[in-house]
Subunit: 276 residues, 2 copies
Amino acid sequence: MMTARLLVNGVVTTQVSVLDRGFSYGDGLFESVRLVHGRAPLWPRHMQRLADGCARLRIPPPDPLQLWEEAQRVSDGIAQAVVRITLTRGVGERGYALPVLPQPGRVLAGFAAPTPGDDVYRDGLHMRVCHLRLAEQPLLAGIKHLNRLEQVLARAEWSDPAIAEGLLRDGHDRVISATMANLFAVIDGVLLTPALDCCGVAGVARAEVLAIQPNARVAELSLQALSAASEIFLSSSVRGILPVQSLDEWSYVPGALTRQLQQHWLNLGFSMEQDG
Amino acid sequence: MMTARLLVNGVVTTQVSVLDRGFSYGDGLFESVRLVHGRAPLWPRHMQRLADGCARLRIPPPDPLQLWEEAQRVSDGIAQAVVRITLTRGVGERGYALPVLPQPGRVLAGFAAPTPGDDVYRDGLHMRVCHLRLAEQPLLAGIKHLNRLEQVLARAEWSDPAIAEGLLRDGHDRVISATMANLFAVIDGVLLTPALDCCGVAGVARAEVLAIQPNARVAELSLQALSAASEIFLSSSVRGILPVQSLDEWSYVPGALTRQLQQHWLNLGFSMEQDG
């Protein structure tokens, strides 16, 4: 079993109230922040998405300075860390109605970062197309909320350890994302990533890619269109820029844009080296 | 703040691990069971739905006898009780993949039952039409899973205490349910309730109504069709058969079928009296 360093509302404990609405209804948000030697290059983007999520769910926003201080505490001594920040609507009465005086719950958990391995960054990962179709809910699309059963069910579609990710589509055959990363494709020389107005999570790594690639386009993307892609890669706040080597029977080779973005990630201060 | 009697995996405690996937992803199920002097007339239906949900989510099913014994413990001495049973996939590694050796988490919480009041059972409740449209996800439809942000957002649409419930539709303008109850309507003398193949929760009270009303029909139902209903009522495992007195500007009077089903609920052993 993994070990994690935990802070719940600022207190060192492994437990949260069973009456917390995060547990009762998935009524909250989370962020998975990669830290390298205590630095988190995408921290402002995480805080922006968390604030957006709080506004959408009407949860009082957290204090980013407090979160930063606690993120440092739970990742102290872990050179390559991931800090999961969970923010919930807190303990509430039974029933869906919002508490009159909400006291949001705050959990920070520090872990050693996953290590995809040099070969993944060099050659790419293998991916499959999932059967599950993401449901369309514009009121929840884009934010990283705690209702993640669709991702759990999609990830449960395969157990072959050689397959690292699954491609998710919506009910209109539109490509949306991977199960835990966003997707980009270069088609006819143009960098494209799916629109996330109706489902999917707007990743902070995706936001970083879009910010530094002003010619990139957010567009509808069909599975068939991916057959003609010259490059496909995933973006993840935890794992960075991951080339896709295969999608079911289709094969790809990491191209110039993928390499350029991987270099950008290194320039940001992210390292792909193993921990320790 | 409410008081609740709590058992977590059989132990008297108010806390659950922050690494429980129920808290991380809403990866689990729940049941809200009404008990009257220790009896739960709809218990077999609750256990059936829970088993169905476990099969759908691939969570090892619980032992109903153990749940029954624990439900008695958390409701002991509460004449009119609600026991919330929460079943999760348990503590897991970071990430969506299913644990290799899942150890489901089990939380039982006993509360005093809500008391809608005699006038609600006699005259009916007031209801509004919600703006939120339920997303369609056939893989999750019908089961009572922990991903309940849609219900939270729908319930947050109003704060007028005179409005007891909200009507939920899907993206195809089909009526589905209330936020925490199922809906029935009598139209042209036929008892109808919406199909729940794409969204909504298949309530145990709904199942009871359908079982004793063999002529009832599960059908598509539009909002406009409700304008012509001679009776509308809600079914809830916790609150029983609740007549609808108004839906926005439309008014209704509880009819013969509503009264017949309320009598059936009394015959089952449910009481509408206040606690104590």
